[in-house]
């Protein structure tokens, strides 16, 4: 069974540009989560999507946004990139509804902002 897949693996952008990251959940999982892992920091919760709707978001500015498609895949968009947005962005999926904390993570997309 395929795990959570993320693309691209690495992405280099300059300040002010926009970045788009993509995630495909495990088949049968309807919830998708996005976390940011900056160097030396713990994972910070960004967004939770379930059944195509944004259900919760973390303490991040509105320039972090995303969506979930009918096939449950998801996209994270970061507008007006800032240097501090450089981080590993992890996508995770779980069974639908509230999930149960048992998240299945992808290997992440490393975003570097120059």
């Amino acid at each position: 069974e395929a795990g959570v897949t993320q693309s691209p693996t690495h992405l280099i952008k300059t300040r002010g540009q926009q970045a788009t990251l993509r995630c495909s959940p495990i088949s049968g999982h309807t919830s998708v989560y996005w976390y940011q892992q900056a160097l030396g920091l713990g994972l910070q919760f960004l967004l939770w999507y379930d059944e195509g709707e944004e259900r919760n978001r973390g303490n991040f500015p509105p320039r972090f946004s995303g969506r979930q498609f009918p096939n449950y895949s998801s996209e994270l968009n970061v507008n007006a990139l800032e240097l501090e947005d450089s981080a590993l962005y992890l996508c995770a999926s779980s069974l639908g509804g509230q999930g149960a904390g048992e998240l299945f993570f992808g290997e992440g997309s490393r975003l570097t902002v120059l």
Binding site: V4, G42, L43, F45, L90, A100, L103, G108
Partner: protein, 110 residues
């Protein structure tokens, strides 16, 4: 403010030398305490969920325990393949928003 703190930041052990990792939490309405393992260049991998004080879970050389303020991950007779970063997370309110600690980097040397 909800917070999860892990200690030590890094731990170096000899193969076979047992030890414990600590996770202290201040999470209002804690619904569950989770342990994950993260290898370099990989996403975290789920290990355990603990729901109430006094609960214990075991998997191979790992045992996780939970009190009202802390969780411990005990590693018995570790092997080099146990080297990884171990992450602790608390679920506040719902399970959809986990609050992660910064992790403990464990290195086990032969």
């Amino acid at each position: 403010e909800d917070q999860v703190t892990q200690s030590p930041e890094a731990l170096r052990l000899q193969e076979g030398e047992s030890s414990s990792l600590n996770c202290s939490y201040t999470v209002s309405g804690l619904r569950g305490l989770f342990w994950y393992r993260q290898d370099p260049g990989k996403g975290p991998e789920f290990l355990f969920t603990l729901y109430s004080a006094g609960e214990e879970k075991e998997k191979e050389r790992l045992k996780a325990t939970l009190t009202k303020k802390e969780s411990f991950l005990h590693i018995t007779a570790p092997k080099p393949e146990d080297s990884a970063t171990y992450l602790c997370a608390g679920a506040a309110g719902g399970y959809n928003k986990l609050i992660f600690g910064a992790g403990t980097r464990l290195a086990v040397h032969p």
